[in-house]
């Protein structure tokens, strides 16, 4: 499933500035992510990559232009099209089950005071299944391991059946089995035409999914890194990691 060429970019930011408590964090960023594209936002701790994505999603005050699917952010209402996976640390959940957390992902499509529909229930189950946690659905979220919690948050975003996924550091504190599982999830999304933007420290297991990487350094966007094996199949998996711009970043 490919988007028609006329489809507006999933994300368009121009001249984006964000200051937190007076400190400039994001400075004059221009960013465009085409519909169906998979892009990594790379950078060191404190480089501004998370703040950049939060601004794009309207979670933090900013100056400059942001459009989602061609609509300026302040007029954008179609939030069911966005699936956000924030960093795990910000979540306050004590007794809720994994299923209850994932069910929140349906709220963009549910009306208030109405029970879950059959479609809601199916989407919640499918999403838990996609991250291999169907049998932990009734377990307390807080008692799951870090990797399992990350998978629940990904499932919550999957449940929205969004066209645009924004994942913030999905690999933080996650073991290798979960890493390759998440890469599989991303690959399935990409095959369905979902736009994917990931804030990452390193490309790691996502090399075969990503079309390109954007480097954020000190709040500014660095050189774009085109994926050398873009949509040619075959030997793509290690090429991006061999790119000096990307490997150089890990060494910093």
């Amino acid at each position: 499933m490919t988007n028609p060429p006329a489809a507006p970019p999933a994300i368009r930011a121009a001249g984006l500035d964000v200051a937190l408590s007076g400190v400039p964090i994001v400075r004059g960023v221009d960013l465009e992510v085409a519909a169906g594209e998979a892009v990594a936002i790379l950078g060191n701790n404190g480089s501004g990559k998370t703040t950049l994505m939060r601004a794009v999603l309207g979670l933090t005050a900013h100056r400059g232009l942001v459009e989602l699917f061609g609509t300026p952010l302040d007029r954008f209402r179609d939030w069911a099209r966005v699936g956000y996976v924030p960093q795990r640390s910000g979540i306050l959940v004590q007794q809720a089950t994994a299923r209850e957390v994932v069910a929140s992902g349906r709220l963009g499509r549910r009306r208030a005071f109405r029970p879950e529909t059959a479609a809601d229930k199916a989407a919640i189950l499918d999403s838990l299944d996609a991250v291999a946690l169907a049998e932990r659905a009734g377990d307390r979220f807080a008692r799951l391991s870090g990797g399992q919690q990350q998978r629940v948050l990904i499932a919550r975003a999957l449940a929205s059946q969004a066209d645009l996924m924004v994942w913030d550091e999905p690999l933080a504190g996650v073991d290798h089995v979960t890493q390759s599982l998440l890469a599989g999830v991303a690959e399935n999304l990409k095959a369905r035409g979902t736009t994917i933007v990931m804030v990452l420290h390193e490309i790691g297991p996502f090399a075969s999914v990503l079309d390109r990487a954007v480097l954020v350094r000190d709040g500014r966007i660095g050189p774009h890194v085109p994926h050398p094996a873009h949509r040619h199949g075959g030997h793509e998996s290690d090429d991006l990691a061999d790119n000096p711009a990307v490997t150089g970043l890990e060494a910093v």
Binding site: R54, L59, Y84, L92, G138
Partner: protein, 329 residues
């Protein structure tokens, strides 16, 4: 059972039942956001409304509700603007409410004795019109707490996510504190303004000991709250005490009883418990710490089954015996 035929007791028990159910319902969201002491502060604010009513000679309940809800909304707007993490501002607001209420009551020629009936509850003072207000507002709080459970849960658990899914986060946040303010005020004749916060928090913690899940936890907490409120009200008739005190003591006793019960439900805490498969982050390294004992079934550290062997939970990490040392898992 003579109390059953007394009209004031019938009203008091009904009011207590409504309070006992609604306080944990809204309290579940308050506890989820780690604002357990918010109810206490709102109780202080409501005292100002009571004092104002005593001075002006109007009915205390409606005026206290108006003052408390307005204060709660102001607090939420301050929190949203990022100003209220300075909890000094909140403290000033709360103690201003309490002292202002006492002062106004004094000016009205009413001593602390009159106020005590509002601070700790009073069986004799639930009038028929009050009961109607309590019933209607109780119904509103319950309909919203249960009907909007998925939305309110999402906002309490993860506000950024709730925003990106298009929920009206500000409206929902204000709704929670406003409902909490209503609950606090409505409870002033049963548990009383200074103790109602306990009924919003303690049954929720009790339920969390014994059931899993947000929804089930909320309903269990409502049941616990109802039992504590009704039995405390009846008991206070016999003991001739303020109902609030007994209600809260019973709630705390139920909480204490839930500890051994949760152990029972989860099995023996020292028995091996499957917490993770080998896909858990298992970093293996030698542990340099001193070990005064050898981990075993009775060493007091929780045993955890892990990838075919048993680890012992030790200061937040897991130890696995390996020859002469422990590997850290």
């Amino acid at each position: 059972m003579e109390w059953l035929s007394l009209e004031f007791m019938q009203r008091a028990i009904l009011a207590a039942l409504i309070t006992g159910v609604m306080a944990p319902a809204i309290g579940t969201y308050i506890v989820q956001r780690r604002l357990s002491l918010l109810g206490d502060g709102l109780g202080h604010l409501a005292v100002a409304g009571v004092g104002l009513a005593l001075l002006t000679g109007t009915a205390p309940l409606p005026l206290a509700i108006v003052v408390c809800v307005a204060g709660a909304i102001a607090i939420e707007l301050l929190r949203e603007a990022g100003r209220a993490q300075g909890d000094v501002g909140l403290a000033i607001l709360f103690y201003g409410g309490l002292s202002g209420g006492l002062l106004l009551a004094g000016l009205a020629g009413q001593g602390a004795g009159t106020l005590a009936g509002y601070l700790f509850g009073s069986l004799l003072t639930v009038g028929a019109p009050d009961l109607w207000v309590i019933a209607v507002l109780g119904l509103v709080v319950l309909v919203v707490s249960i009907g909007l459970m998925p939305q309110l849960f999402a906002v309490s658990a993860d506000e950024p996510f709730a925003r990106t899914i298009g929920l009206p986060v500000r409206v929902l946040n204000i709704l929670v504190v406003a409902l909490a303010a209503i609950t606090v005020t409505v409870s002033m004749r049963t548990v009383g303004l200074l103790l109602v916060s306990a009924l919003m928090v303690v049954p929720v913690s009790t339920a969390n000991q014994v059931v899993t899940g947000f929804r089930r936890g909320m309903f269990a907490a409502m049941g616990v709250g109802a039992v504590a409120a009704v039995s405390g009200t009846i008991g206070s008739y016999y003991l001739d005490t303020a109902p609030g005190a007994l209600i809260v003591v019973i709630a705390i006793l139920l909480f204490a009883a839930s500890w051994p019960l949760s152990r029972l439900l989860q099995g023996d805490s020292t028995a091996p418990r499957q917490v993770g498969s080998p896909d858990d982050e298992a970093t293996r390294q030698k542990v340099p710490e001193e070990h005064p004992h050898v981990h075993g079934p009775n060493c007091g550290h929780r045993a955890v089954e892990h990838a075919g062997h048993v680890d012992y939970v030790h200061d937040g990490h897991r130890h696995a015996a390996h020859e002469d040392h422990y590997d850290e898992h």
